[in-house]
Symmetry: C2
Amino acid sequence: MTAAVHTYVEGFAKSDAALIIDMYAADASLEDPIGTPVRHGIDSIAEFYVGAMHTGARLELHEPVRIAADYAAFAFTVVLDLGEGLKRVDVIDTFRFNADNKITEMRAFWGPTNMSGF
Amino acid sequence: MTAAVHTYVEGFAKSDAALIIDMYAADASLEDPIGTPVRHGIDSIAEFYVGAMHTGARLELHEPVRIAADYAAFAFTVVLDLGEGLKRVDVIDTFRFNADNKITEMRAFWGPTNMSGF
């Protein structure tokens, strides 16, 4: 599960949406950020990451990844450069995994107080 | 909610279990760490914190606290000194709050890979 989080960071570094989409189970859910409508199923999740890659987002992981039962939780900073100066968002994500080490649930904790440079 | 997290850290710094117990709603739940039996209700939660204070645990908060809708998520290191050398546990907690700013759900993400010095 820790290696999966590192792959996730690598996916953003390479702008490789497919690498990340392949980490998800077909019936997974995604809520990013918490409080917004939950996406259900791999097609909706794929759409989310293809869009995310267009922002050029990079993830700076703040180690260590926390592992508890079938969950991973990790703190990171998203760095965006949209040509208007560097923007940063401090985030904590949680992943839940199934027995095949695929993500079944992703939740992202961040909000307006965690954004800078916007 | 960010201030509540700071109060939580202060409660450990002062070994003041009552300060922390007062942050919880009467019907709250607590799962620490995830994968262990969930505690339900303020009496069981109080028992948990009175026990925790006996370990002399201190919390080093890794700012910023992430705030999303009615949730706070925060990364920290628990530092324990039981007279056998310093022990550390890297943890991410999530709190869910009600309209009275009381915690209704606490979940702690940590496991064996997050412990050092034991």
